[in-house]
């Protein structure tokens, strides 16, 4: 089991109802972690129901592919497509 800080932003944060939590998991990729979170509770399942609208970052670096391994990362973040500028 590894321990990750998991962060949620924007409507993902609102649907899940929190901005940050510590997650203990055996998941090896970001996609595995999402699958595990969705099995937990309906609010997670709802938040992650449209993965085309979800982006992720590992240790504050944007990933292009949700199949990216979690590796030695400490922090995983989920959020919608960005709308800055």
């Amino acid at each position: 089991m590894k321990s990750f800080q998991v962060l949620y932003f924007a409507w993902l944060r609102e649907r899940i109802g929190l901005g940050r939590e510590t997650v203990e998991t055996d998941a090896t990729t970001i996609a595995d972690l999402v699958a595990e979170l969705r099995r937990r509770e309906a609010r997670y399942d709802l938040a992650f129901s449209d993965m085309a609208s979800v982006r992720a970052a590992l240790d504050q670096d944007l990933v292009d592919d949700l199949n990216t391994p979690l590796g030695d990362a400490r922090e995983v973040a989920f959020f919608p497509p960005m709308t800055g500028g």
Binding site: F9, A10, A57, Q60, L62, P80, P81, M82, T83, G84
Partner: protein, 153 residues
């Protein structure tokens, strides 16, 4: 040479441009400023959320990429977060170079990357509700033009 500021407060465009102009080699400075526009049913507030830590990191990386790609003597990116009202400035980028083409292209590059790679999310609050702004597919297309083989250099 690279100046990145993420702040709740306002910024001074004139002072930022003057700062970037400093030095005998700078011929051209381009600035872009983005403001909160009103929306059809009356915008009360625009609330901007960001990812502290990653935001500064992403903006610095984008500025470094621009500085690698064009001969720049300075790059400034300032982006606000928190609650803003129509008319408030949201953000600015500024680029300085000997050459106007480099300053223009680098400023456009910064904007295109920042729109889809910097962790900011906008929420519009009106009298009838609150909605997260949806990302535009055009913004991804604008970013992707810089990785085409014939991308302007």
């Amino acid at each position: 040479m690279i100046r990145v500021i993420v702040t709740e407060g306002a910024f001074d465009l004139g002072a930022e441009a003057a700062r970037l102009e400093d030095g005998p080699e700078t011929g051209a400075v381009v600035t872009f400023t983005g403001r909160v526009r009103d929306v059809a049913d009356g915008l009360a507030q625009m609330v901007i959320e960001h990812y502290p830590g990653m935001t500064e990191r992403a903006l610095t990386q984008i500025a470094e990429q621009a500085a690698t790609r064009w001969p720049l003597s300075g790059v400034t990116i300032i982006h606000r977060y928190g609650a803003l009202v129509p008319g408030d400035r949201i953000m600015m980028v500024a680029t300085a170079s000997r050459h106007r083409e480099a300053a223009f292209q680098a400023a456009e590059f910064l904007m295109d990357y920042l729109k889809s790679r910097a962790p900011f999310w906008k929420k519009e609050i009106t009298a009838t509700g609150a909605d997260w702004v949806v990302a535009r597919a055009e913004d991804d297309a604008a970013r992707d033009r810089w990785s085409k083989p014939d991308a302007a250099q």
